[in-house]
Protein backbone atom coordinates (compact mmCIF):
# COMPACT_ATOMS: atom_id res chain seq x y z
CA UNK A 1 0.00 0.00 0.00
CA UNK A 2 2.60 2.50 1.09
CA UNK A 3 5.37 3.85 -1.10
CA UNK A 4 9.00 4.44 -0.32
CA UNK A 5 10.49 7.58 1.14
CA UNK A 6 11.16 10.15 -1.54
CA UNK A 7 13.34 13.27 -1.70
CA UNK A 8 10.42 15.72 -1.34
CA UNK A 9 9.10 13.91 1.68
CA UNK A 10 12.47 13.77 3.43
CA UNK A 11 13.44 17.39 2.66
CA UNK A 12 9.99 18.75 3.47
CA UNK A 13 9.79 16.64 6.59
CA UNK A 14 13.19 17.87 7.77
CA UNK A 15 12.31 21.55 7.23
CA UNK A 16 8.97 21.15 9.00
CA UNK A 17 10.66 19.23 11.81
CA UNK A 18 13.18 22.05 12.20
CA UNK A 19 10.43 24.66 12.53
CA UNK A 20 8.51 22.48 14.98
CA UNK A 21 11.66 21.79 17.01
CA UNK A 22 12.50 25.51 17.26
CA UNK A 23 8.94 26.29 18.30
CA UNK A 24 8.89 23.57 20.95
CA UNK A 25 12.31 24.54 22.26
CA UNK A 26 11.17 28.15 22.62
CA UNK A 27 8.69 27.08 25.29
CA UNK A 28 11.50 26.06 27.63
CA UNK A 29 14.53 27.97 26.40
CA UNK A 30 15.48 30.91 24.21
CA UNK A 31 18.95 32.53 24.14
CA UNK A 32 17.44 35.83 25.35
CA UNK A 33 14.04 37.17 26.27
CA UNK A 34 12.54 37.68 22.80
CA UNK A 35 10.54 40.74 23.86
CA UNK A 36 13.12 42.41 26.12
CA UNK A 37 13.85 45.91 24.84
CA UNK A 38 17.51 46.62 25.57
CA UNK A 39 19.01 49.85 24.26
CA UNK A 40 22.55 48.61 25.04
CA UNK A 41 22.30 45.96 22.33
CA UNK A 42 20.46 48.07 19.75
CA UNK A 43 21.21 46.86 16.19
CA UNK A 44 23.96 44.67 17.62
CA UNK A 45 25.89 42.60 15.09
CA UNK A 46 25.84 38.80 15.32
CA UNK A 47 28.15 37.21 17.88
CA UNK A 48 28.68 37.08 21.62
CA UNK A 49 25.51 35.23 22.57
CA UNK A 50 23.52 37.03 19.89
CA UNK A 51 23.63 34.39 17.16
CA UNK A 52 21.88 36.48 14.51
CA UNK A 53 22.29 39.89 16.10
CA UNK A 54 19.60 42.18 17.55
CA UNK A 55 17.01 44.55 16.09
CA UNK A 56 16.50 48.28 16.54
CA UNK A 57 15.05 47.75 20.02
CA UNK A 58 17.92 45.48 21.04
CA UNK A 59 15.78 42.29 20.92
CA UNK A 60 17.63 39.09 20.01
CA UNK A 61 16.70 38.08 16.43
CA UNK A 62 17.18 34.35 16.97
CA UNK A 63 14.97 34.29 20.07
CA UNK A 64 12.32 36.19 18.16
CA UNK A 65 12.52 33.72 15.27
CA UNK A 66 12.06 30.82 17.69
CA UNK A 67 8.99 32.29 19.34
CA UNK A 68 7.77 33.47 15.91
CA UNK A 69 7.83 29.83 14.76
CA UNK A 70 5.39 29.14 17.58
CA UNK A 71 3.01 31.83 16.34
CA UNK A 72 3.31 30.57 12.78
CA UNK A 73 2.52 26.96 13.70
CA UNK A 74 -0.25 28.00 16.05
CA UNK A 75 -1.97 30.02 13.33
CA UNK A 76 -1.40 27.26 10.76
CA UNK A 77 -2.79 24.49 12.97
CA UNK A 78 -5.91 26.40 14.00
CA UNK A 79 -6.59 27.75 10.49
CA UNK A 80 -6.12 24.38 8.78
CA UNK A 81 -8.09 22.74 11.59
CA UNK A 82 -11.04 25.07 11.01
CA UNK A 83 -10.83 24.51 7.26
CA UNK A 84 -10.63 20.72 7.58
CA UNK A 85 -13.41 20.45 10.15
CA UNK A 86 -15.82 22.53 8.08
CA UNK A 87 -14.63 21.75 4.56
CA UNK A 88 -14.34 17.97 4.82
CA UNK A 89 -17.92 17.25 5.96
CA UNK A 90 -19.29 19.75 3.44
CA UNK A 91 -17.33 18.13 0.62
CA UNK A 92 -18.38 14.65 1.74
CA UNK A 93 -22.03 15.65 1.90
CA UNK A 94 -21.79 17.22 -1.56
CA UNK A 95 -20.13 14.07 -2.87
CA UNK A 96 -22.51 11.59 -1.24
CA UNK A 97 -25.92 13.20 -1.42
CA UNK A 98 -28.64 11.86 -3.68
CA UNK A 99 -30.00 15.36 -4.09
CA UNK A 100 -28.19 17.05 -6.89
CA UNK A 101 -29.42 20.49 -5.82
CA UNK A 102 -27.80 20.13 -2.39
CA UNK A 103 -24.46 19.25 -3.93
CA UNK A 104 -24.78 22.19 -6.32
CA UNK A 105 -25.77 24.56 -3.52
CA UNK A 106 -22.80 23.58 -1.36
CA UNK A 107 -20.33 23.86 -4.20
CA UNK A 108 -21.66 27.20 -5.52
CA UNK A 109 -21.51 28.78 -2.05
CA UNK A 110 -18.07 27.26 -1.84
CA UNK A 111 -17.08 28.98 -5.09
CA UNK A 112 -18.36 32.23 -3.69
CA UNK A 113 -16.10 31.97 -0.63
CA UNK A 114 -13.26 30.75 -2.83
CA UNK A 115 -13.50 33.87 -4.96
CA UNK A 116 -13.12 36.03 -1.87
CA UNK A 117 -9.47 36.80 -1.05
CA UNK A 118 -8.31 35.62 2.38
CA UNK A 119 -6.49 38.89 3.03
CA UNK A 120 -9.60 40.96 2.35
CA UNK A 121 -11.62 38.74 4.66
CA UNK A 122 -8.98 39.13 7.38
CA UNK A 123 -8.90 42.90 6.96
CA UNK A 124 -12.71 43.01 7.20
CA UNK A 125 -12.81 40.76 10.25
CA UNK A 126 -9.98 42.78 11.75
CA UNK A 127 -11.91 46.01 11.21
CA UNK A 128 -15.04 44.60 12.84
CA UNK A 129 -13.67 42.47 15.69
CA UNK A 130 -10.25 44.03 16.13
CA UNK A 131 -7.07 42.82 14.49
CA UNK A 132 -5.24 39.98 16.24
CA UNK A 133 -4.00 36.45 15.97
CA UNK A 134 -7.47 35.00 16.54
CA UNK A 135 -9.21 36.97 13.79
CA UNK A 136 -6.32 36.22 11.45
CA UNK A 137 -6.62 32.49 12.16
CA UNK A 138 -10.38 32.47 11.65
CA UNK A 139 -10.13 34.48 8.44
CA UNK A 140 -7.41 32.23 7.00
CA UNK A 141 -9.33 29.16 8.13
CA UNK A 142 -12.61 30.25 6.54
CA UNK A 143 -10.82 31.20 3.34
CA UNK A 144 -9.25 27.71 3.22
CA UNK A 145 -12.57 25.86 3.67
CA UNK A 146 -13.34 25.76 -0.09
CA UNK A 147 -10.03 24.08 -0.90
CA UNK A 148 -10.85 21.27 1.53
CA UNK A 149 -14.45 20.99 0.42
CA UNK A 150 -13.37 20.62 -3.21
CA UNK A 151 -10.77 17.99 -2.51
CA UNK A 152 -13.11 16.11 -0.17
CA UNK A 153 -15.94 16.20 -2.71
CA UNK A 154 -13.81 15.04 -5.63
CA UNK A 155 -12.26 12.24 -3.58
CA UNK A 156 -15.66 11.22 -2.16
CA UNK A 157 -17.18 11.02 -5.63
CA UNK A 158 -14.33 8.77 -6.71
CA UNK A 159 -14.90 6.50 -3.74
CA UNK A 160 -18.71 6.46 -4.09
CA UNK A 161 -18.64 4.76 -7.49
CA UNK A 162 -16.45 1.89 -6.32
CA UNK A 163 -17.84 -1.58 -5.83
CA UNK A 164 -16.96 -1.64 -2.15
CA UNK A 165 -19.45 1.13 -1.46
CA UNK A 166 -22.11 -0.90 -3.29
CA UNK A 167 -20.98 -3.93 -1.29
CA UNK A 168 -21.24 -1.97 1.97
CA UNK A 169 -24.79 -0.92 1.07
CA UNK A 170 -25.68 -4.48 0.17
CA UNK A 171 -24.28 -5.53 3.55
CA UNK A 172 -26.80 -3.21 5.19
CA UNK A 173 -24.62 -0.25 6.10
CA UNK A 174 -26.44 3.06 6.62
CA UNK A 175 -25.22 6.18 4.87
CA UNK A 176 -23.53 7.64 7.93
CA UNK A 177 -21.68 4.39 8.55
CA UNK A 178 -20.64 4.29 4.91
CA UNK A 179 -19.31 7.83 5.29
CA UNK A 180 -17.25 7.08 8.38
CA UNK A 181 -16.13 3.52 7.76
CA UNK A 182 -15.59 3.55 4.01
CA UNK A 183 -15.39 7.05 2.57
CA UNK A 184 -13.34 8.85 5.23
CA UNK A 185 -10.54 6.25 5.51
CA UNK A 186 -10.20 6.19 1.73
CA UNK A 187 -10.08 9.96 1.23
CA UNK A 188 -7.86 10.49 4.29
CA UNK A 189 -4.58 10.53 2.40
CA UNK A 190 -5.85 13.21 0.01
CA UNK A 191 -6.96 15.31 2.96
CA UNK A 192 -3.58 14.99 4.66
CA UNK A 193 -1.87 16.20 1.50
CA UNK A 194 -4.33 19.09 1.25
CA UNK A 195 -3.68 19.96 4.91
CA UNK A 196 0.05 20.19 4.30
CA UNK A 197 -0.35 22.43 1.25
CA UNK A 198 -2.96 24.58 3.02
CA UNK A 199 -0.59 24.91 5.96
CA UNK A 200 2.01 26.49 3.68
CA UNK A 201 -0.57 28.95 2.35
CA UNK A 202 -1.71 29.74 5.90
CA UNK A 203 1.87 30.53 6.97
CA UNK A 204 2.24 32.93 4.07
CA UNK A 205 -1.13 34.53 4.79
CA UNK A 206 -0.30 34.99 8.46
CA UNK A 207 3.03 36.60 7.60
CA UNK A 208 1.31 38.92 5.13
CA UNK A 209 -1.35 39.90 7.65
CA UNK A 210 1.17 40.55 10.39
CA UNK A 211 3.23 42.58 7.93
CA UNK A 212 0.19 44.71 7.19
CA UNK A 213 -0.65 45.03 10.87
CA UNK A 214 -3.79 42.88 10.77
CA UNK A 215 -2.25 39.80 12.30
CA UNK A 216 -0.40 39.10 15.49
CA UNK A 217 -0.27 42.11 17.80
CA UNK A 218 2.99 43.37 19.30
CA UNK A 219 4.84 42.44 21.42
CA UNK A 220 4.20 38.77 20.49
CA UNK A 221 6.94 37.96 17.98
CA UNK A 222 5.81 37.06 14.48
CA UNK A 223 7.85 36.54 11.34
CA UNK A 224 5.62 38.84 9.32
CA UNK A 225 5.97 41.70 11.79
CA UNK A 226 9.71 41.18 12.05
CA UNK A 227 9.83 41.79 8.30
CA UNK A 228 7.70 44.88 8.60
CA UNK A 229 9.84 46.33 11.42
CA UNK A 230 13.00 45.73 9.40
CA UNK A 231 11.58 47.57 6.38
CA UNK A 232 13.05 50.97 7.21
CA UNK A 233 16.49 49.47 7.86
CA UNK A 234 16.45 47.34 4.71
CA UNK A 235 19.48 49.07 3.20
CA UNK A 236 21.48 49.73 6.36
CA UNK A 237 20.89 46.41 8.16
CA UNK A 238 19.51 43.94 5.56
CA UNK A 239 20.07 40.91 7.82
CA UNK A 240 17.05 42.00 9.92
CA UNK A 241 14.83 41.33 6.88
CA UNK A 242 16.86 38.39 5.63
CA UNK A 243 16.32 36.07 8.60
CA UNK A 244 12.54 36.26 9.02
CA UNK A 245 12.18 36.24 5.22
CA UNK A 246 14.28 33.12 5.03
CA UNK A 247 12.33 31.54 7.86
CA UNK A 248 9.01 32.15 6.09
CA UNK A 249 10.37 30.90 2.77
CA UNK A 250 11.82 27.73 4.28
CA UNK A 251 8.70 26.95 6.31
CA UNK A 252 6.46 27.42 3.27
CA UNK A 253 8.82 25.38 1.12
CA UNK A 254 8.94 22.70 3.81
CA UNK A 255 5.16 22.28 4.03
CA UNK A 256 4.78 22.34 0.24
CA UNK A 257 7.46 19.69 -0.22
CA UNK A 258 5.95 17.66 2.58
CA UNK A 259 2.56 17.80 0.83
CA UNK A 260 4.09 16.75 -2.48
CA UNK A 261 6.10 14.01 -0.86
CA UNK A 262 3.08 12.71 1.07
CA UNK A 263 1.02 12.64 -2.10
CA UNK A 264 3.56 10.38 -3.76
CA UNK A 265 4.09 8.35 -0.63
CA UNK A 266 0.40 7.73 0.04
CA UNK A 267 -0.64 7.20 -3.57
CA UNK A 268 1.47 4.44 -5.12
CA UNK A 269 -0.56 4.64 -8.35
CA UNK A 270 0.63 8.16 -9.05
CA UNK A 271 4.20 7.19 -8.27
CA UNK A 272 4.05 4.37 -10.77
CA UNK A 273 2.79 6.75 -13.46
CA UNK A 274 5.66 9.11 -12.78
CA UNK A 275 8.20 6.33 -12.87
CA UNK A 276 6.89 5.20 -16.25
CA UNK A 277 7.34 8.62 -17.77
Amino acid sequence: MRGHLNASLVTGGALVALVVALALLSFVWTPHDPVLVDAAHKLRDPGGGYLLGADKFGRDTFSQLMVGARTTLYVGIVAVGIAALIGTPLGMIAGMTRWRWLSELIMRVNDLVFAFPALLLAVMLGAVYGAGTLTAMIAIGVATVPAFARVARAATMQVMVTDYILAARAAGRRRLQVAFRHVLPNIGSMLIVQASVSFAIAILAEAALSFLGFGTRPPTPSWGRMLQESQELLFSTPRLALWPGLAIALAVLGFNLLGDGLRDYLDPKLRRIRAER
Binding site: A167, A170, G172, R174
Partner: protein, 266 residues
Protein backbone atom coordinates in the same frame (compact mmCIF):
# COMPACT_ATOMS: atom_id res chain seq x y z
CA UNK B 1 -39.12 -30.07 -16.10
CA UNK B 2 -39.29 -26.49 -17.37
CA UNK B 3 -39.05 -24.72 -14.00
CA UNK B 4 -38.37 -25.58 -10.42
CA UNK B 5 -41.29 -26.89 -8.41
CA UNK B 6 -40.63 -24.83 -5.25
CA UNK B 7 -42.46 -21.80 -3.92
CA UNK B 8 -41.59 -18.49 -5.56
CA UNK B 9 -39.01 -16.50 -3.63
CA UNK B 10 -38.19 -13.62 -5.96
CA UNK B 11 -40.90 -12.39 -8.28
CA UNK B 12 -40.08 -9.54 -10.60
CA UNK B 13 -42.76 -8.21 -12.88
CA UNK B 14 -42.46 -5.85 -15.84
CA UNK B 15 -39.29 -4.15 -14.58
CA UNK B 16 -38.23 -1.09 -16.50
CA UNK B 17 -35.16 1.00 -15.85
CA UNK B 18 -34.33 4.10 -17.85
CA UNK B 19 -31.07 5.97 -17.40
CA UNK B 20 -30.74 9.57 -18.40
CA UNK B 21 -27.51 10.59 -20.02
CA UNK B 22 -26.16 14.04 -19.18
CA UNK B 23 -27.10 16.65 -21.74
CA UNK B 24 -24.51 17.18 -24.42
CA UNK B 25 -26.33 19.86 -26.35
CA UNK B 26 -28.49 22.84 -25.41
CA UNK B 27 -31.02 22.23 -28.15
CA UNK B 28 -31.24 18.44 -28.34
CA UNK B 29 -33.02 16.54 -25.57
CA UNK B 30 -30.90 14.58 -23.09
CA UNK B 31 -30.21 11.02 -24.19
CA UNK B 32 -31.99 8.13 -22.52
CA UNK B 33 -30.85 4.54 -22.20
CA UNK B 34 -33.43 1.81 -21.78
CA UNK B 35 -31.45 -0.64 -19.68
CA UNK B 36 -34.47 -2.81 -18.92
CA UNK B 37 -37.66 -3.00 -21.01
CA UNK B 38 -40.26 -4.85 -18.98
CA UNK B 39 -38.46 -7.82 -17.48
CA UNK B 40 -40.40 -10.41 -15.52
CA UNK B 41 -38.94 -13.44 -13.83
CA UNK B 42 -39.56 -15.79 -10.95
CA UNK B 43 -36.90 -17.47 -8.86
CA UNK B 44 -38.11 -20.34 -6.70
CA UNK B 45 -36.82 -21.42 -3.33
CA UNK B 46 -33.74 -23.60 -3.66
CA UNK B 47 -33.42 -22.90 -7.36
CA UNK B 48 -30.14 -22.11 -9.09
CA UNK B 49 -31.10 -19.42 -11.48
CA UNK B 50 -28.75 -18.14 -14.15
CA UNK B 51 -29.02 -14.89 -16.08
CA UNK B 52 -27.03 -14.79 -19.30
CA UNK B 53 -26.42 -11.95 -21.69
CA UNK B 54 -23.65 -9.97 -23.25
CA UNK B 55 -22.43 -6.72 -21.71
CA UNK B 56 -25.03 -4.00 -22.11
CA UNK B 57 -27.91 -6.47 -22.10
CA UNK B 58 -29.16 -5.11 -18.78
CA UNK B 59 -28.23 -8.06 -16.59
CA UNK B 60 -26.23 -6.00 -14.09
CA UNK B 61 -29.03 -3.44 -13.88
CA UNK B 62 -31.50 -6.25 -13.24
CA UNK B 63 -29.26 -7.59 -10.50
CA UNK B 64 -29.00 -4.22 -8.78
CA UNK B 65 -32.77 -3.92 -8.81
CA UNK B 66 -33.20 -7.42 -7.36
CA UNK B 67 -30.80 -6.46 -4.55
CA UNK B 68 -32.60 -3.13 -3.97
CA UNK B 69 -29.43 -1.19 -4.68
CA UNK B 70 -31.24 0.80 -7.36
CA UNK B 71 -34.87 1.71 -7.97
CA UNK B 72 -36.77 0.62 -11.09
CA UNK B 73 -38.42 3.25 -13.28
CA UNK B 74 -41.50 0.99 -13.35
CA UNK B 75 -42.47 -2.49 -12.28
CA UNK B 76 -42.31 -4.35 -9.00
CA UNK B 77 -40.20 -6.89 -7.17
CA UNK B 78 -41.52 -9.12 -4.42
CA UNK B 79 -39.17 -10.96 -2.16
CA UNK B 80 -40.68 -13.81 -0.14
CA UNK B 81 -44.09 -12.29 -0.81
CA UNK B 82 -43.11 -8.78 0.28
CA UNK B 83 -42.85 -5.84 -2.06
CA UNK B 84 -39.34 -4.31 -1.96
CA UNK B 85 -39.48 -1.66 -4.65
CA UNK B 86 -39.60 1.86 -3.29
CA UNK B 87 -38.86 0.81 0.28
CA UNK B 88 -36.46 3.04 2.21
CA UNK B 89 -33.22 1.42 3.36
CA UNK B 90 -34.36 1.11 6.97
CA UNK B 91 -37.24 -1.15 5.86
CA UNK B 92 -34.98 -3.35 3.77
CA UNK B 93 -33.26 -4.97 6.75
CA UNK B 94 -35.04 -8.28 6.13
CA UNK B 95 -33.75 -8.28 2.56
CA UNK B 96 -30.17 -7.52 3.63
CA UNK B 97 -30.43 -10.44 6.03
CA UNK B 98 -31.78 -12.86 3.46
CA UNK B 99 -30.00 -11.80 0.29
CA UNK B 100 -26.29 -11.24 -0.13
CA UNK B 101 -24.14 -10.50 -3.14
CA UNK B 102 -20.78 -11.54 -4.51
CA UNK B 103 -19.49 -8.93 -6.92
CA UNK B 104 -17.57 -9.35 -10.12
CA UNK B 105 -14.20 -7.91 -9.25
CA UNK B 106 -12.84 -8.76 -5.79
CA UNK B 107 -10.08 -6.17 -6.38
CA UNK B 108 -12.64 -3.38 -6.12
CA UNK B 109 -15.44 -4.89 -4.06
CA UNK B 110 -13.33 -5.16 -0.88
CA UNK B 111 -12.44 -1.89 0.85
CA UNK B 112 -8.61 -1.74 0.66
CA UNK B 113 -8.38 -0.05 4.08
CA UNK B 114 -10.20 -2.75 6.03
CA UNK B 115 -8.83 -5.98 7.43
CA UNK B 116 -10.34 -9.25 6.26
CA UNK B 117 -11.83 -9.73 9.73
CA UNK B 118 -13.81 -6.49 9.47
CA UNK B 119 -14.73 -7.11 5.84
CA UNK B 120 -16.19 -10.52 6.57
CA UNK B 121 -17.94 -9.33 9.73
CA UNK B 122 -19.31 -6.16 8.13
CA UNK B 123 -22.78 -7.52 7.21
CA UNK B 124 -23.14 -8.87 10.78
CA UNK B 125 -22.06 -5.59 12.36
CA UNK B 126 -24.23 -3.56 9.99
CA UNK B 127 -27.26 -5.72 10.76
CA UNK B 128 -26.59 -5.61 14.49
CA UNK B 129 -25.77 -9.28 14.94
CA UNK B 130 -23.08 -10.71 17.17
CA UNK B 131 -19.86 -11.65 15.39
CA UNK B 132 -18.36 -14.10 17.90
CA UNK B 133 -16.31 -16.82 16.23
CA UNK B 134 -18.19 -16.47 12.97
CA UNK B 135 -15.27 -14.97 11.00
CA UNK B 136 -12.98 -17.94 11.60
CA UNK B 137 -15.85 -20.30 10.84
CA UNK B 138 -16.58 -18.54 7.53
CA UNK B 139 -12.94 -18.34 6.48
CA UNK B 140 -12.68 -22.05 7.12
CA UNK B 141 -15.80 -22.70 5.04
CA UNK B 142 -14.28 -20.95 2.02
CA UNK B 143 -10.91 -22.64 2.47
CA UNK B 144 -8.85 -19.81 3.93
CA UNK B 145 -6.67 -20.05 7.06
CA UNK B 146 -7.90 -18.28 10.20
CA UNK B 147 -4.72 -16.15 10.11
CA UNK B 148 -6.08 -14.45 6.99
CA UNK B 149 -8.39 -12.41 9.24
CA UNK B 150 -5.61 -10.04 10.28
CA UNK B 151 -4.45 -9.22 6.78
CA UNK B 152 -5.56 -6.73 4.15
CA UNK B 153 -7.22 -7.62 0.82
CA UNK B 154 -4.19 -6.57 -1.27
CA UNK B 155 -2.17 -9.32 0.37
CA UNK B 156 -4.27 -11.96 -1.37
CA UNK B 157 -4.57 -13.26 -4.93
CA UNK B 158 -7.72 -12.71 -7.01
CA UNK B 159 -9.11 -16.15 -6.25
CA UNK B 160 -8.45 -15.79 -2.53
CA UNK B 161 -10.11 -12.39 -2.52
CA UNK B 162 -13.19 -13.84 -4.15
CA UNK B 163 -13.22 -16.43 -1.37
CA UNK B 164 -13.15 -13.56 1.14
CA UNK B 165 -16.06 -11.95 -0.71
CA UNK B 166 -18.00 -15.22 -0.57
CA UNK B 167 -17.30 -15.61 3.15
CA UNK B 168 -18.57 -12.07 3.68
CA UNK B 169 -21.73 -12.74 1.68
CA UNK B 170 -22.47 -15.86 3.74
CA UNK B 171 -21.91 -14.11 7.09
CA UNK B 172 -25.52 -13.21 7.92
CA UNK B 173 -26.71 -16.72 6.90
CA UNK B 174 -28.67 -15.51 3.87
CA UNK B 175 -31.31 -17.52 2.03
CA UNK B 176 -30.28 -16.19 -1.35
CA UNK B 177 -26.82 -15.71 -2.79
CA UNK B 178 -26.58 -13.39 -5.74
CA UNK B 179 -23.42 -13.55 -7.83
CA UNK B 180 -22.56 -10.95 -10.45
CA UNK B 181 -20.07 -12.54 -12.84
CA UNK B 182 -18.10 -13.87 -9.85
CA UNK B 183 -15.39 -15.49 -11.94
CA UNK B 184 -15.05 -13.15 -14.92
CA UNK B 185 -12.29 -11.13 -13.28
CA UNK B 186 -10.34 -14.20 -12.23
CA UNK B 187 -7.62 -16.20 -13.91
CA UNK B 188 -8.98 -19.08 -15.92
CA UNK B 189 -7.01 -21.47 -13.70
CA UNK B 190 -8.91 -20.55 -10.52
CA UNK B 191 -12.38 -20.10 -12.07
CA UNK B 192 -13.23 -23.75 -11.66
CA UNK B 193 -12.23 -23.73 -7.99
CA UNK B 194 -14.39 -20.73 -7.19
CA UNK B 195 -17.36 -22.10 -9.15
CA UNK B 196 -17.10 -25.44 -7.38
CA UNK B 197 -16.78 -23.72 -4.02
CA UNK B 198 -19.92 -21.71 -4.68
CA UNK B 199 -21.82 -24.75 -5.94
CA UNK B 200 -20.77 -26.76 -2.88
CA UNK B 201 -21.72 -24.01 -0.44
CA UNK B 202 -25.08 -23.48 -2.14
CA UNK B 203 -25.75 -27.22 -1.81
CA UNK B 204 -24.51 -27.49 1.74
CA UNK B 205 -26.40 -24.47 3.05
CA UNK B 206 -29.49 -25.04 0.91
CA UNK B 207 -29.25 -21.60 -0.68
CA UNK B 208 -31.08 -20.15 -3.60
CA UNK B 209 -28.60 -18.92 -6.18
CA UNK B 210 -28.99 -16.13 -8.69
CA UNK B 211 -25.99 -16.22 -10.97
CA UNK B 212 -25.25 -13.65 -13.64
CA UNK B 213 -22.75 -14.27 -16.39
CA UNK B 214 -22.01 -13.51 -20.01
CA UNK B 215 -20.79 -17.06 -20.44
CA UNK B 216 -23.42 -19.75 -20.97
CA UNK B 217 -20.95 -22.53 -20.24
CA UNK B 218 -20.17 -21.06 -16.81
CA UNK B 219 -23.87 -20.78 -16.05
CA UNK B 220 -24.39 -24.37 -17.17
CA UNK B 221 -21.76 -25.40 -14.66
CA UNK B 222 -23.71 -24.12 -11.63
CA UNK B 223 -27.31 -23.43 -12.65
CA UNK B 224 -30.36 -25.49 -13.53
CA UNK B 225 -32.57 -22.70 -14.86
CA UNK B 226 -31.48 -19.89 -17.11
CA UNK B 227 -32.90 -16.63 -18.43
CA UNK B 228 -31.28 -15.26 -21.55
CA UNK B 229 -31.20 -11.48 -21.79
CA UNK B 230 -30.71 -9.30 -24.82
CA UNK B 231 -31.12 -5.55 -25.13
CA UNK B 232 -33.01 -5.12 -21.84
CA UNK B 233 -35.39 -8.01 -22.35
CA UNK B 234 -35.54 -11.67 -21.40
CA UNK B 235 -35.74 -13.51 -24.68
CA UNK B 236 -35.83 -17.06 -23.38
CA UNK B 237 -36.24 -18.83 -20.04
CA UNK B 238 -36.04 -22.50 -19.24
CA UNK B 239 -34.04 -25.42 -17.93
CA UNK B 240 -30.40 -24.98 -18.86
CA UNK B 241 -30.12 -28.47 -20.36
CA UNK B 242 -33.05 -27.87 -22.68
CA UNK B 243 -31.72 -24.56 -23.86
CA UNK B 244 -28.23 -25.94 -24.22
CA UNK B 245 -29.47 -28.64 -26.60
CA UNK B 246 -32.35 -26.87 -28.26
CA UNK B 247 -32.24 -23.07 -28.12
CA UNK B 248 -35.41 -21.53 -29.51
CA UNK B 249 -34.41 -17.89 -29.79
CA UNK B 250 -31.86 -16.85 -32.43
CA UNK B 251 -29.93 -14.77 -29.87
CA UNK B 252 -29.53 -17.81 -27.63
CA UNK B 253 -28.22 -19.75 -30.59
CA UNK B 254 -25.69 -17.01 -31.25
CA UNK B 255 -24.62 -17.09 -27.61
CA UNK B 256 -24.23 -20.86 -27.74
CA UNK B 257 -22.11 -20.62 -30.85
CA UNK B 258 -19.84 -18.19 -29.00
CA UNK B 259 -19.02 -20.85 -26.42
CA UNK B 260 -15.61 -22.29 -27.32
CA UNK B 261 -15.79 -26.02 -27.83
CA UNK B 262 -13.16 -28.64 -28.32
CA UNK B 263 -14.57 -29.37 -31.76
CA UNK B 264 -14.35 -25.75 -32.70
CA UNK B 265 -10.74 -25.65 -31.72
CA UNK B 266 -9.77 -28.69 -33.74
Amino acid sequence: MPTHAGTPLIEASRLTRVYHRPRTSLTKPAGVVHALRGVSLTVHKGERFGIVGESGSGKSTLLRLLCALDKPTAGSIRFDGQEITGLPERRLRFLRHSLQIVFQDPMSSLNPRMRVRDLVAEPLVALGESVGGRVAELLDAVGLPAAAADRYPHQFSGGQRQRIAIARALAPRPKVLVADEPVSALDVSVRGQILNLMADLVDELGLTLVFVSHDLSVVRHVCETVAVMNDGEIVETGAIDDIWIEPSHPYTRALLQAVPTLEGLL
